[in-house]
């Protein structure tokens, strides 16, 4: 799945990854790859601006941590981030149900005789 396909859903996806616990940029990308069996083909560099955008919106909180000898910026969901993720989920459920129904192959109409 390419970046263009994911566009518009990246924020929700990042929030969903962080729901399982705090993580730094590279760990979030790794989690994304593992959870999608490598189906996500996103330049790792684009994750970071997206995380900063979420931070600005108050949906995640970032702190510097030096665990393991390397300084990393660790992101964590805020209560507002959790609510935004729930909203994103229900929007997606409605959207996918609608599109699934629309795309379902329909049997040819029987000609009235």
């Amino acid at each position: 799945m390419r970046a263009e396909t994911l566009k518009g859903h990246l924020d929700g996806i990042l929030l969903a990854v962080l729901e399982r616990g705090p993580g730094h940029g590279y760990a979030i990308m790794e989690a994304l790859r593992v959870r999608t069996d490598g189906q996500v083909d996103l330049p790792t560099g684009t994750i970071y601006p997206a995380l900063h955008r979420l931070e600005q919106a108050g949906l995640v909180q970032a702190t510097w941590s030096a665990a393991g000898g390397r300084r990393r910026r660790v992101y964590q969901l805020t209560p507002a981030g959790r609510r935004a993720l729930e909203a994103e989920r229900s929007t997606w459920r409605d959207f996918s149900a609608t599109v699934t129904a629309l795309l379902r192959p329909t049997p040819l109409p029987v000609n009235p005789s």
Partner: protein, 237 residues
Amino acid sequence: MTRQRPPEPRVPAVERYLAEITARLPGPREAHVGIVAELHSGLLDAADAYQSAGLAPSQAAQAAIREFGDPARVAAGFSAEIAARQARRAAVILLVTGPLVGLLWIATALASHLGIRLTQLWHWAGLPPGLRVTMALVAVAAGVTFAAALLGIATTGRLTRWLPARPRRAPLAAAIAGYGAISADGLGLALLTAQLTTAPGKLSPLPAVAAAAASLVRVILAKRSARQCLAIRASLT
């Protein structure tokens, strides 16, 4: 006891890649430090992962750089965020310093023998017309500064969750607030100069010097930040 952390290895290819990103970022250098440090540790994490998978160090660094993607694209992603952060900072500084500088000028007006009383600040009937008009202009400039700074702050914080993304708006608001502050402070300084040339003896020196110094500093800072905000705004497409 805290042990000194060994410095991160310097990987030339990674440094070059980060320099390519930095060169494309808008705003002052100090706004890039955190971003570059974060990308740097991410790149080293990625390179470590490739090395664990069996690649030689130099190949691992190249693979990490490939994984992070086009530097122009990464920099473009950060531009809006930097613009918002700079605009917000400028707006907050203007909003906080405005009332402080204003109080110094009011103190100057009250302490000097100009016939201005606290009540007359709001009922300007007794003042000469020139002074009255200039004070009205100062009030307008201060009002514009206040409104634009508030807009700059509001559109760069939590509200971004619901607002449509328009990254050029906040730097413009912050620049307007900056020029509003320059106008208000400049008019204050002009009034002071006029008083100094006509009747310097009536001025109370201590608050006058404090107010003038505060306004002068604010004019210089506001001019710099307004220009910076406009430059950042121009760099956003």
